[in-house]
């Protein structure tokens, strides 16, 4: 494979390294978030290494660097989004539930996934990630990181004229 084609495949190679690292770490440590971050960082290291190495064999300028790094990050984001669906999506959870072989009605599902259970699950997740904490039985913000997403999301929904639907995921 010559330099040009190796350059073309470098984001895919780096992504595969990231994915394998994530698989190994998540099975060993059970820390999903850390495994994803570690995988992406390792993949990035490989990507930068490949770009530096390929400079000896093929002319690469800063635009090629930008193109390959952007491709790598985009592929990583898609990978993360796919994993996140399994971790947080209610739709996927319903899919697994209906695939379990049990005969379920709407009432069965509403009982199993009560509003309280859905909210508590999210609150627990926020607490575990350190975003919120409990003081005197009240929940308060412990970090303003997610607020950035709240403001950006709200701004984008105005700019893109997204219909303000209900809460969903």
């Amino acid at each position: 494979m010559n330099g040009e084609w190796l350059l073309s495949f470098s984001p895919i190679i780096s992504l595969m390294v990231a994915v394998f690292a994530q698989i190994i770490l998540s099975h060993q440590s059970k820390k999903i978030g850390q495994s994803i971050v570690f995988g992406v960082l390792l993949g990035l290291f490989i990507q930068i290494g490949l770009l530096c190495l390929l400079r000896k064999y093929t002319p690469i300028n800063w635009q090629d660097d930008c193109a390959e790094l952007l491709t790598f990050f985009s592929l990583c984001f898609c990978f993360w989004a796919f994993l996140n669906l399994n971790l947080t999506s209610l739709r996927i959870r319903l899919l697994h539930e209906l695939n379990s072989g049990l005969q379920l009605t709407t009432e069965n599902l509403l009982q199993k996934y009560s509003p309280t259970e859905l909210i508590k699950r999210r609150i627990d997740r926020l607490k575990l990630s350190g975003q919120i904490k409990q003081e005197n039985n009240n929940w308060i913000l412990n970090s303003r990181k997610l607020l950035i997403f709240v403001y950006v999301s709200s701004f984008l929904r105005n700019v893109l004229m997204v219909n303000r639907g209900g809460n969903g995921n």
Partner: protein, 157 residues
């Protein structure tokens, strides 16, 4: 050349999306996005690329397009998690208790909304009072179930 061509065509696709959404927001936005991005992808035929460059351009263009579609899906409906954060923020340093959050979000119809969406996507159907997976739904259940085991994930929701 590849980088600027891809960015240029993606920006044009984005502008087209903004204009279209102001005229009429499509019901199936994912399909609409794919069509818009596909139309602008064919802009590469106006530029002379080597085969290797076409591959690089395609990978860059479609991975970036997918990122935008995923991000748009995330903001299309407000995430319950972000809604919780926003609600707690409005209560300042005093905060709020769990019952207030539950009352505010009142996601009583969350399950019904998801089931409607899954029916529209062709993943589930109703046989009498029971919900069943279609062939497509079974395929996705197998895909995500396999992915959960393969990537060592906990099933969330």
């Amino acid at each position: 050349m590849i980088f600027f061509t891809a960015i240029g065509l993606l920006i044009l696709a984005f502008i087209c999306h903004l204009i279209l959404w102001r005229i009429r927001r499509p019901a199936r936005f994912t399909l609409a996005f794919f069509i818009i991005f596909l139309i602008f992808y064919f802009g590469i035929f106006f530029i002379t690329f080597l085969p290797g460059d076409i591959f690089r351009f395609t990978l860059l263009y479609w991975s970036s397009a997918l990122v935008y579609i995923i991000l748009y899906s995330a903001i299309d409906q407000q995430s319950p998690t972000l809604a919780i954060v926003d609600f707690i923020k409005t209560h300042g340093d005093f905060g709020c208790d769990e019952s207030a959050i539950i009352q505010y979000l009142a996601p009583e119809d969350e399950i019904k909304k998801r089931l409607m969406a899954m029916t529209q996507s062709g993943w589930v159907s109703q046989e009498g009072q029971y919900w069943v997976l279609t062939q497509q739904g079974k395929m996705f259940a197998a895909l995500f179930g396999g992915a959960a085991k393969f990537f060592g994930l906990n099933r969330g929701g």
